[in-house]
Amino acid sequence: MKKIGGKKPLSFAGIFALVAVVEYLAFFQFAPEFLTTGLIELTAKILHFALRLTGAQVTISAETLTFPAMQLVIVYECTGGFAMFIFSACVISYPSSLKSKLWGHLFGIGGIFIINMARLLALSWAALHARGLFDFIHKYLWQSMFILFVLGIWFVWVNRFTGEGKKVNGTA
């Protein structure tokens, strides 16, 4: 096959796909409770805390938030956990030091958690004030945008944490 791209066009994508599958399988089989129910409860508690700060009338029971007009049940898909998997696969696949990969996980998973909390706050706002927008934000907006945010966070990591940014600036 004639190579018109980088030296190994498929290698990064191939490693990325492999890591994502292995991470998922490991998670599906062996995930400790703090990574599953723990993340769900943490997400629900932080969301509840943030909503109380805004003065919203919302109560919490385990992973269920009750609004005046509806209930919001936080499940694993709501935590941004799958987006974290994808980001993690990007970081692990990229050739860099172990230290920068560790920083990448801290930075990226934290960033995705914050973006996801912003999404849940938007959903909560819809639940309180614009019920008609709830499904729209829930089903469509996140799906359309989140991968772009993941890629953006990954670019920042490559540029700031792996030393590639310095090389680029030096040659630009």
């Binding site: 791209g5 980088g6 190994k8 990064f12 994502a20 599906f28 696949s93 991968i147 670019f155 940014g165």
Partner: protein, 180 residues
């Protein structure tokens, strides 16, 4: 502005433009087409002979299947699955290469997304039809949690790195896997 920042910003703006076109004009006929093909696969997949049912509301993002072997109707919500077309197209069209390459890349993306939607919808229908809590459920969670979500990124990594002489490194002024 750094090329990578401009690329992400353009990608987000394009996604915002593509999204309403997709959601309000194209999604409904597309879902009918996907549903028709998934129903046809019932001849070889365990959910058995199937047909499209008209019991879902237009624009709901759902496909209803009449499963003749199970004698019931199953509604599959595919709205969030098929929406991955939006970031996939946005990533390709935002990539700073010649427009001809972007158009070809976008057409290829549409084809791959279509196949992934057939696969995902059939998997979810299979899971719902048999109320499986084992392997098929695992495959279903992987499909709509990881595969469908990561597909735009995976496709873009391969396409962008192979479509220009400098690969992603040249496109975005950063290095991607030059050491393997």
């Amino acid at each position: 502005m750094a090329p990578r920042n401009k690329f992400i910003l353009t990608g987000i703006l394009l996604a915002l433009v593509i999204f309403p076109v997709w959601r309000f004009l194209l999604q409904e006929p597309y879902l009918t087409f996907v549903g028709w093909i998934v129903a046809a696969f019932g001849n070889i997949l365990p959910y058995g002979k199937a047909g499209l049912s008209g019991m879902v509301e237009a624009g709901s993002g759902e496909i209803a299947f009449d499963l003749f072997d199970f004698r019931r109707t199953v509604v599959v919500d595919v709205s969030s699955i098929v929406t991955n077309i939006v970031p996939m197209l946005a990533l390709v069209l935002a990539t700073p290469v010649e427009w001809k390459k972007r158009v070809i890349g976008a057409l290829l993306a549409l084809g791959i997304a279509f196949l992934s939607h057939i696969f995902a919808t059939a998997t979810i229908l299979w899971w719902q039809a048999q109320a499986d809590t084992g392997v098929i459920e695992g495959l279903k969670i992987f499909t709509d949690g990881i595969l469908i979500a990561a597909l735009p990124l995976l496709y873009w990594f391969v396409w962008a790195d192979s479509t220009s002489k400098g690969g992603i490194n040249g496109l975005l002024k950063m290095k991607i896997n030059r050491k393997g």
